[in-house]
């Protein structure tokens, strides 16, 4: 008998083991739903699978009577657009400030305390101010994502820049590089894959902020729809939306990993 820590499941067993908890969850849900339906047949908290199926059909495959759009896809499009813009802008800010403060000690001394302080402020608490400054348009949702994650990303990139071996900076200088050249040719390319890591780490928060922003001021989007139907507790809509969001989050993360491995192969072997 092998020790527990040495026992590895075979491939098919691993797959089965991995799927098993999901099946249990589905089963538990079914039981819970039936039980609640037995008590109150109009219970909305745990809708039956056929109710969920209906809701999906109505939102995703039937054009809305009001606007002629497919609500589900429209929501997805709007949310993804905001999400990607938010991530892109936050990454750009994080990269620029993080890289520059990490590379230039004077600038670092100047801005790091401020960035640290800002990163500790919970954005939800200063929403009113944010909305005043950035308005309530399409911009504001993107801005909330940016404010939510850019400080963290800035600190992370700052840290990563500082962690690059000092030897490389010295070597570059002996090759005749000035500060600008070092930043562009030595630091920047090495920080890019680390920026992808930082984006991946921020994805969870970014979704939170997107949903929060859409709940406050929006007329479409995945978060908006959840907010809108929440007051009627339409779990038959909320549940598929949540699963969809989870899937999109997974997809985004997966694509970032792929991108990083494709463009920065040297980064992934190094470790």
């Amino acid at each position: 008998m092998k020790r527990l820590i040495n026992k590895r499941p075979s491939k098919p067993l691993a797959v089965f083991l991995g799927i098993f908890p999901f099946l249990i969850l589905l089963f538990l849900y079914q039981v819970g739903s039936d039980a609640r339906k037995a008590e109150n047949e109009r219970d909305k908290l745990l809708p039956s699978f056929s109710e969920i199926h209906h809701a999906i059909d109505r939102l995703a495959f039937t054009p809305s009577k009001r606007t002629g759009e497919y609500v589900f896809w429209q929501d997805t499009k709007s949310s993804l657009k905001r999400m990607l813009m938010g991530l892109a802008i936050a990454a750009l800010i994080g990269l620029t400030i993080g890289l520059l403060t990490g590379a230039i000690p004077m600038l670092g001394a100047n801005l790091t305390p401020l960035v640290t302080a800002i990163s500790l402020i919970p954005p939800m608490a200063i929403l009113p101010i944010l909305f005043i400054v950035f308005g309530l348009g399409e911009l504001s949702k993107v801005v909330l994502i940016v404010i939510g994650i850019a400080p963290f990303m800035t600190r992370d990139i700052y840290q990563r820049t500082k962690e690059l071996p000092r030897e490389q900076l010295v070597k570059a200088q002996t090759l005749g590089a000035h500060s600008g050249q070092i930043i562009v040719r030595v630091l920047l390319p090495q920080i890019l894959p680390r920026l992808i890591d930082a984006v991946r780490l921020s994805l969870g928060s970014a979704w939170l902020f997107l949903i929060a922003a859409e709940a406050i001021a929006s007329t479409d989007g995945l978060g908006y729809r959840i907010f809108l139907v929440r007051r009627y507790m339409s779990m038959d809509v909320i549940l598929p939306y949540v699963i969809w969001i989870t899937f999109l989050a997974f997809l985004l993360d997966w694509m970032l990993v792929r991108t990083s491995k494709t463009f920065f192969p040297w980064y992934h072997v190094q470790k």
């Binding site: 030897e167 070597k171 002996t174 090759l175 005749g176 590089a177 000035h178 040719r185 920065f264 040297w266």
Partner: protein, 267 residues
């Protein structure tokens, strides 16, 4: 302490002069009273117990540590207090850029020079730079690996690359801080041969720190031993190390050798 015994001290002015050179961090005196002349084409190996200040000395030559006492001159002028292309360096690790291919690593020194703004060349200029890089890579025996990334190279090949990268700038001095410390003994031998070949062919002036006294003897034309010649048991930081032996290689009595061996394992 023997006076400078370099062979070619007769005609030319020294390339590097240390005059009562010293270095301290606050109250902690690391190095003191180093007075040496080094002429072009010499190969100095530096040995000494761990923590005695060999790297510190090299870093002062490199310009990453400031001189705190005495003078350190290059071509008769105080050495520039920042790294520059006059002094090439090879560290034990992290000398090469992991995100650039072998060829790009070497061409980088030319790109910095010819593209002052962003340090990146395009078109014909870039081709010329890469071609020049290939020549140097052939010289260090990396002709087969020009398109690989450093992580695809063995430790020895990475150090070859680091040397080629440094030499393309034709530095006045080449500084090496335990360059082969992390290599296997077999590969080490190849590297010794390469380094001596390059030194002869390009008339380099080399400072190399090593922990391996045999390596020191085999490679150098002069071996410097760093050690404290004064000790204060109660305040070991009162006195710094200096160059206690300056040996022309090949000319070595039994007693000195024993003394050196002892000083190396003192730490």
């Amino acid at each position: 302490m023997s006076e400078s015994t370099a062979k070619n001290s007769t005609e030319r002015a020294p390339l590097i002069q240390a005059k009562r050179l010293g270095k301290s961090y606050g109250d902690h005196i690391v190095l003191e009273g180093i007075s040496k002349d080094v002429y072009e084409g010499e190969f100095i190996t530096l040995v000494g117990a761990s923590g005695c200040g060999k790297s510190t000395f090299l870093n002062m030559l490199l310009g990453t540590e400031v001189v705190t006492a005495g003078k350190l001159l290059l071509d008769g002028k105080p050495i520039v207090s920042e790294p520059d292309p006059a002094r090439g360096i090879v560290f034990q690790k992290y000398s090469v850029f992991p995100h650039l291919t072998v060829r790009q690593n070497v061409a980088l020194g030319l790109e910095f020079d010819q593209s002052p703004l962003i340090g990146r060349l395009f078109g014909a200029k870039r081709k010329a730079a890469l071609a020049q890089a290939d020549e140097w890579l052939a010289a260090v025996g990396l002709a087969q690996a020009v398109n690989k990334y450093p992580h695809e190279l063995s430790g020895g090949m990475q150090q070859r690359l680091a040397i080629a990268q440094a030499l393309i700038k034709r530095p006045r001095v080449l500084l090496l801080d335990e360059p082969f410390g992390a290599l296997d003994p077999g590969i080490r031998k190849d590297m010794h041969k390469l380094l001596l070949d390059l030194w002869r062919e390009y008339k380099l002036t080399v400072f190399m720190v090593t922990h391996d006294i045999q390596e020191g003897f085999y490679l150098g034309t002069r071996l410097w031993v760093f050690d404290k010649d004064r000790h204060d048991e109660h305040a070991p930081e009162r006195y710094g190390a200096t160059v206690t032996f300056d040996l022309p290689v090949g000319d070595m009595d039994e007693e000195s050798l024993n003394k050196i061996e002892k000083s190396l394992t003192a730490a």
